[in-house]
Amino acid sequence: MTGAALEARGLSKRFGGVQAVDAVDVALGAGEMLALIGPNGAGKSTCFNLLTGQRRPDAGTIRLFGRDITGLPPRRVWRLGVGRTFQITATFSSMTVIENVQVALMSHHRRLGALWRRADRLYIEPARDLLALVGMADQAGRACGLLAYGDLKRLELAIALANDPRVLLMDEPTAGMAPGERAALMDLTARIVAERGLSVLFTEHDMDVVFGHADRVLVLDRGRLVAEGPPATVRVDARVRAIYLGEDARPVAAPPPENRP
């Protein structure tokens, strides 16, 4: 696909005897919301970690707007305009909510090396705007370590948007949230994506979220891509039904959350 925001070809990764990801092609179109789904151990998280640079692929190439980013460390990938949120939230728990966003903004503007300035006075307005965008403005001064889980997820989204990314990678953005919160967060994400012209790739276990918000769905099973297409097509795909409802009759709606190694 030409003009893809993020494109991976022949992505492979092996851990010992396990082929976690096997020659996977991913193409995220500009302005698209693409879901990556699959049962536990299908290789979603590994795929994600390859795309963000946390792990180096054994084979395959990754291109961001045509530029080869294969093997770059996470911080370089981020500098090129890729924001990400984590499955298990990762925030700076000794700082306040707004400081978390300020640090991301300082890093984006390459101001983190300074020793003389007072950091808490930098980028207050942009940080407030980002918090307002995700509906956290009223919690700006709270200790991040005291936030409820759903709020942490929204804070992660604000942090991920701090470098004005063109591509957003969200690893299970709604895991651990109440059903009402899930819909609200995904509606919010969809709105931001539309407003800012972002492209989003997300993994998700909640099928309501997937079929309600994805433009297109990729299905991974045992490291291989087994189906791809609009939600309506994937939903009725025989192979997908076999994977999810097959021998072990896994319920579609709520499989157990995945444990990453």
Partner: protein
């Protein structure tokens, strides 16, 4: 050639004892995540009790009613019972404290045991009995080897085999291995954690004491054994891989042979060689020879939940008022009090510099004395070598420390957690041995004498004011750094490496900058210390000085920027006051530390916060 074989065999015999100690330390760390600083003390206790049971009571044939081996075994069992008691009474209360706090408790225990040993057995070296039946020598390739050494060579693999069977063939062993892999999981499976931990601590203690007891026919028993052995045991555990018993065996053999041949080949740099090997192993294999990365990397320093606030106008007013009040001290105090106060100020800066690295940067250092000492020697060499004025020495000292920290930091930031801490210790020991052995320049053990402040600052009051100004300014600087963008970068890496790298932070670079700044500030403290004392000895680079800094920071509380200052003042004052009352200040200080760790796991500043909260909220504070 023949001689080399004998040397290698002697090395193997030493390896057995080292392996016993190190495997115990490794097991305890693997399961409980406690860095047991008292492990060397328990080794020493094993040696002393074995000496009493086999020799001191004046039994015929130096055998006692239990015989030599019975005495050795009984000693190890008695110390193991003491270990179980320590775990139940003290350590069990603090597993949920911040990760480094138990270390402080075991340090307090080490102080107490050392003093108790001196009290019970006296300060003299004690010579142990020969083992009956093994007091002869065998001739190998025309050279004599004590037959006891042969028995020891066999003991190491025997214990390794026994431990392997215990860990792989028993239900208990499976639990121990599972807990080493993932402690939370074992707890979730409904295993009685408390009993498992007590058992492991007792086993580890037993091995340490046995290691000490079997050494008595080979080496004199003395009360400095604890520090000597704990450093070697740490090095072995880290080279082998934390929590890995087979790795500990491999590393014990490596270290013992290095000791045996290092003395022959490089008599001047034997110690350096040991630590160089460790540094090389850690840089090539960051988790030791046989160690594996942890399932989930744990922060060595738990982030505080209460965000730090920049010093407001009230804070600065209080700080300036305090400094102003201190500046009046020379009007009322005599020269002795002034020199004590000057020393406390210097150590407050030393502690603050370590806190910058540990509390802000999340990098634990067991070797911060390296930079304090480099600062002292940097100043001394300028003053005595070039005849430079003090103002120059106060620049060259910190610069030398800065340069040392740049080199050490470059290596250290590749590691994390306890491994990083051990590499700082290795660096400090390397610097110590260089200083100790490079007599032409550093004077070696005799030190460098006669470097007094310039005439304008020779009055104690003036030197106190100078120190107050420099240390006060430098402490204010550490505070300022904590709230600068660089400080936020450091705290970000401490809180979550994953997130820090995902927002474009170069973790290694940020931590390196933090490391170098902390080293430079410690160097300033060291330079001032040299002028205060008028001389510099290799002691300023020693492990006790590093431990002092660590204790001050932990005592004050890692979670607060005021912590290191409170800790330094409290610890130094206590040490000076108690040591003026009694010769047994280590015993009292150790007991106070242990008591404080149990009463206030968040340090003195944490305790103060909680007391203040209790005052405000009345009964609500009881739930802490």
């Amino acid at each position: 050639m023949d001689f080399l074989v004998i040397q290698a065999l002697t090395g193997l015999a030493s390896a057995s004892s080292l392996f016993l100690v190190a495997s115990g330390l490794s097991l305890i760390f693997g399961v409980t995540r406690i860095v047991n600083f008292a492990h060397g003390s328990l080794f020493m206790l094993g040696a002393y009790i074995a000496w009493t049971l086999t020799d001191a009571l004046g039994w015929a044939d130096h055998a006692g009613p239990l015989g030599f081996w019975g005495g050795v075994l009984a000693s190890a069992l008695m110390v193991a019972a003491l270990g179980a008691l320590i775990e139940i009474v003290i350590l069990r209360r603090i597993y949920h404290a911040p990760p480094l706090f138990p270390l402080l408790a075991t340090f307090g225990l080490a102080l107490m045991i050392e003093d108790l040993v001196r009290l019970i057995w006296g300060p003299e070296d004690l010579l142990g009995p020969r083992a009956p039946g093994l007091d002869g020598a065998v001739t190998i390739l025309g050279q004599k080897l004590p037959s006891y050494d042969l028995a020891l060579i066999a003991l190491g693999p025997l214990v390794l085999g026994g431990l392997w069977l215990l860990l792989h063939r028993t239900h208990w062993g499976v639990l121990v291995r599972a807990a080493t892999q993932d402690r939370a999981m074992v707890g979730a499976l409904g295993v009685n954690q408390a009993r498992l931990f007590t058992g492991v601590f007792a086993l580890g203690t037993f091995l340490a004491a046995l290691g000490g007891a079997v050494q008595i026919p080979r080496e004199a028993v003395h009360h400095a054994l604890d520090m000597q052995i704990i450093v070697e045991a740490f090095v072995i555990v880290v080279i082998g891989g934390l929590g890995n018993v087979a790795g500990a065996f491999l590393a014990a053999v490596l270290v013992a042979e290095l000791n045996a041949f290092g003395i022959l080949l490089f008599p001047r740099i034997g110690l350096v060689l040991l630590f160089l090997v460790m540094a090389v192993v850690l840089v090539l294999r960051p988790h030791g020879l046989l160690g594996r990365p942890e399932s989930e990397p744990r922060a060595a320093v738990a982030p505080t939940v209460d965000p730090w606030r920049p010093t407001g106008p009230t804070g600065w007013a209080v700080g300036l008022a305090l400094a102003g009040g201190l500046a009046l001290l020379p009007l009322v105090a005599d020269a002795y009090v002034l020199s004590v106060a000057t020393e406390i100020l210097i150590f407050a800066l030393f502690a603050a510099s370590l806190h910058l690295m540990m509390g802000v940067g999340g990098m634990v250092s067991f070797g911060h004395a390296a930079f304090f000492g480099l600062g002292a020697y940097g100043a001394a060499l300028a003053t005595l070598g070039w005849g430079a004025p003090m103002a120059v020495g106060l620049v060259t000292g910190p610069l030398l420390a800065l340069a040392g920290a740049a080199v050490a930091g470059w290596l250290c930031v590749r590691l994390s957690g306890v491994y990083l801490a051990m590499l700082t210790l290795a660096f400090a020991q390397i610097v110590w041995s260089v200083v100790f052995q490079w007599q032409d320049v550093t004077g070696g053990d005799n030190g460098l004498l006669g470097m007094w402040p310039d005439r304008w600052a020779s009055d104690p009051a003036v030197f106190f004011w100078l120190t107050l100004g420099l240390c006060g300014g430098a402490i204010a600087l550490t505070r300022h750094i904590a709230f600068s963008p660089m400080g936020y970068a450091l705290r970000a890496c401490r809180d979550s490496v994953r997130r820090a790298e995902a927002i474009g932070l170069d973790r290694a670079r940020a931590q390196w900058v933090g490391f170098v700044l902390a080293g430079g500030l410690a160097g300033l403290a060291g330079a001032l210390f040299a002028y205060l004392k008028g001389s510099v000895f290799p002691d300023v680079l020693g492990i006790p000085v590093s431990v002092d800094a660590l204790v001050m920071v932990l005592l004050g509380g890692l979670g607060s920027l005021t912590g290191p200052l409170v800790g330094a003042v409290a610890y130094k004052t206590l040490a000076i006051v108690v040591s003026s009352w009694t010769d047994h200040w280590p015993l009292i200080l150790g007991a106070l530390i242990v008591g404080l760790v149990i009463a206030a796991p968040d340090g003195l500043t944490g305790l103060a916060h909680r007391l203040a909260a209790a005052g405000r909220h009345g009964r609500r504070a009881g739930r802490s």
